[in-house]
Amino acid sequence: MFINNFFLFLLLLPKSIYEKMGVNTHHLKAILTTKLMMDERRPPSIQQRQKKKNAKPIKWATLGTMIMSALLGLFFIISFFISNDTVTQFFLFFTFFIFLLASTLITDFTNVLIDIRDNAIILPKPINDKTFLLARLFHIIIHVSKLVLPMTLPSLITVGIKYGSWGVVTLILLIPPVTLFTIFLINALYILILKVSTPEKFKNIISYFQIVFAIVIYGSYQIVPRMINMSVLENYRFPQTSISLLAPPFWFAGSWEFLYHHNYSIIIICAFILSIIMPALSIWIVIKYFAPSFNQKLAMISGSDTAESVNQSKAIASSTKKTFAEILANLFTKKGAERMGFLHAWYITARSRDFKMRVYPAIGYLLVYMVIMILRSRKDMLQELQNQTTSGKFLFLGGIYFISFVIMQALSQIKYSDKYKASFLFYTTPISVPGQVISGAVKSSIIKFYLPLAVLISLFGILFMGIQILPNLLLGMSNQLCICFLIAYVGFVEMPFSRTESITVKSGGFIRGLISMLIPFILATVHYLIFDYTVAVLILLALSMIAVWLVAGSVYNKNWTDLKVGYQD
């Protein structure tokens, strides 16, 4: 709260000037104090995808946001050590800055930058327009400052050490225009998406953007340092040609060069002019053209009444025509509760933003790890796979067993839902064996999250290692299925989509963790040891398939007394 009060104090210092402008400073302070208090209780955008319903109330969100921004800002320092050329260094810095700020602000846009709740709460009150506008402007300034200041702090220190105080002053001068330009970019992006999509799709696009953002940030941290070949980059120079002027980060990098090194080449002067004109122009465009229709469009997003059709052509009369999900359900499940569980899980995992936000980033992180694994292995990877050398086998089995973590992630999340109260349907309908619903949901997750990757790895394996790899492939997959059902058996002590994440179930937690980590490792090790002995592989395959049949049966037959968690009210 201290940080908010500090910003508030600073902005309200010229009180008398505001009053002369016709602003009611009491109202201004009241609105800002409330808005900042609300921000304090909202999870930082960076952590929003992990937010939990009924979780502990958020406190110190400002401090959290600032620390997180500073940590992300540490990443920018790398720009100042990559090349010897300052334009290149600052080009990279401003690229990172624009990307990160835009990504962070994108999720905050409806909450902070254009707060549509104002329309219902503040506008009907007797507050004059000037006070209202200034409150909104100050709120945006404070919010953006809380992100930008810590984000740039590590870089300012680095620039101070490398280029002295004038280097820092120059950079500080360039931060406001680049921030304004970034805000314009997001604004333009929002308008563009709203033009080409429905409000419902808009929400999905923003969610996907958040997922991609999380994966890109994680991937950059993990992969970029491994890929950088310093000796090559040291001599790299970003080309200073007229085409470079199309890249906004170059305008600001050029300006720094202009102000610090007094470089007066034509391209640098053009960049300097653009760095002043473009932010000013962009803000003018926002105010003049974007803002008027923007609130109205954003209001549509929050309270959209335009129903999105899932499949209008799927008329109820034509129920004989089966959907893809129904075909799969008929293939892999028994009629009744299991089929219902399958379809229910299939639809929800496909459509629920909440589920996607929890599962897809984690799957993305795992894929990043896979990329790292491939990068770490030697370049003649394909050759090694073909020859089935030790590292070739290791890579192949690593690929097969590693994807179990993907399905584990999905399985661990299908018990949760932000609409957990809707699970009344499982408890009030005559389901005699709840395991049937669970089994359907598990099979649905396996087919959706595991099967595509398994098919991919199978094709890859057969292509590079030949058809003789089939027994090993089948054993790997059978073991995977065994792990999945084992996790479902131990881990599912409730109905699918029936819990909030805040409820922790003590029983089975340790065993679940053990199975999740240890069993894939043990099975992969055993598999590695018998890899070359086809007979042993076939025997183990038979045993594994029997185990799958037994464990899947146990999941299917779970009864109400096996469930530890009832309806959560």
């Binding site: 419902e200 959209s304 009444d305 335009t306 129903a307 999105e308 059709s309 899932v310 499949n311 209008q312 799927k314 008329a315 109820i316 009369a317 129920s319 009744g336 509760a337 089929r339 219902m340 379809l343 229910h344 639809y347 929800i348 459509r351 629920s352 839902s417 609409k419 109260k421 809707a422 009344f424 349907l425 408890y427 009030t428 309908t429 005559p430 389901i431 005699s432 989509f497 109400w560 009832g566 309806y567 009210d569």
Partner: protein, 274 residues
């Protein structure tokens, strides 16, 4: 002999045969942690009755409903539905009950057709029958244009209509309605009220839980008033009037449950401006 017996059954007045209550609660207790919510509820409800189950906030209405529907199973006492002990065979009880919950909580990424289709599957309704019934019921509620639209864009009233449909889909003997009119528009309220009367005429037992006293007064054969986990009044509206003076149900409710005078509370509120 058999012919004589069947003709006896046919001509013997139905209401003179002693009937087993369709819902019976005997000494039902329920605590949330240390806090007692139900303190020994005893109820006996006959088939075909429309029960108005009313009480102030926190009285234990929803807890009773949740016990009956199988959402809460850790209670003390005995509950039988259609002669079946709820604890012994909850699945059989659930087949007989249709439940419409209070809040329009749904997996709203589904469409009404998908949601109701899944419900039909759980009640073992043949697909052809279910499809036709879903179509007819949604059309009656004016949702035909939205049948294949995701419910996350629905208003509260539209979701409530889907929930009512889900509660009636399997044509249950007992219908438990927890604030079914919540969020419905005026026309839909008329439809639901009319529906309750028609279902009652059809021999269904309706357990109607609500705060809307005027509606309860009109639709119920019998009104049960619960306060602080205990039944404090039970009878037809006329019987309650006879006991409490010739008042409206709203006034009877206030008289029996308010801790202080409601008029005084309003006065106290007005005094805040002085």
């Amino acid at each position: 002999m058999i012919q004589n017996l069947s003709s006896f059954i046919y001509i013997y007045p139905y209401y003179l045969i002693p009937m087993e209550p369709i819902i019976e609660l005997k000494g039902v207790f329920k605590n949330y942690g240390e806090k007692p919510v139900l303190k020994g509820i005893n109820l006996s409800i006959d088939a075909g009755q429309v029960i108005g189950y009313i009480g102030p906030n926190g009285a234990g209405k929803s807890t009773t409903v949740k016990i009956l529907c199988g959402l809460i199973s850790d209670y003390d006492g005995k509950v039988t539905v259609a002669g079946i002990d709820l604890k012994e065979d909850p699945v059989a009880v659930k087949r007989k009950i249709g439940y419409v919950p209070e809040l329009a909580e749904l997996y709203d990424v589904l469409t009404p057709v998908e949601f109701l289709g899944l419900m039909a599957e759980l009640y073992d309704i043949p697909k052809i029958v279910a499809t036709e019934r879903i179509h007819k019921m949604l059309t009656a509620f004016g949702l035909e244009a939205n049948m294949n639209n995701r419910m996350d864009t629905f208003s509260k009233g539209m979701k409530q209509k889907v929930l009512i449909t889900s509660g009636l889909l399997h044509n249950p003997d007992i219908i438990i309605l927890d604030e079914p009119l919540s969020g419905l528009d005026a026309n839909s309220v008329i439809i639901v009220k009319d529906l309750i009367s028609k279902l009652a005429k059809d021999g269904k037992t309706i357990f109607y839980c609500s705060h809307m006293m005027d509606v309860v007064e009109k639709v119920s054969d019998r009104i049960i008033l619960i306060n602080e986990g205990q039944v404090i009044a039970d009878g037809s509206f006329t019987e309650l009037q006879a006991q409490q003076g010739n008042e409206s149900l709203e006034k009877i409710f206030a008289h029996l449950t308010a801790t202080s005078s409601l008029g005084e509370a309003a006065n106290d509120l007005m005094k805040a401006f002085d």
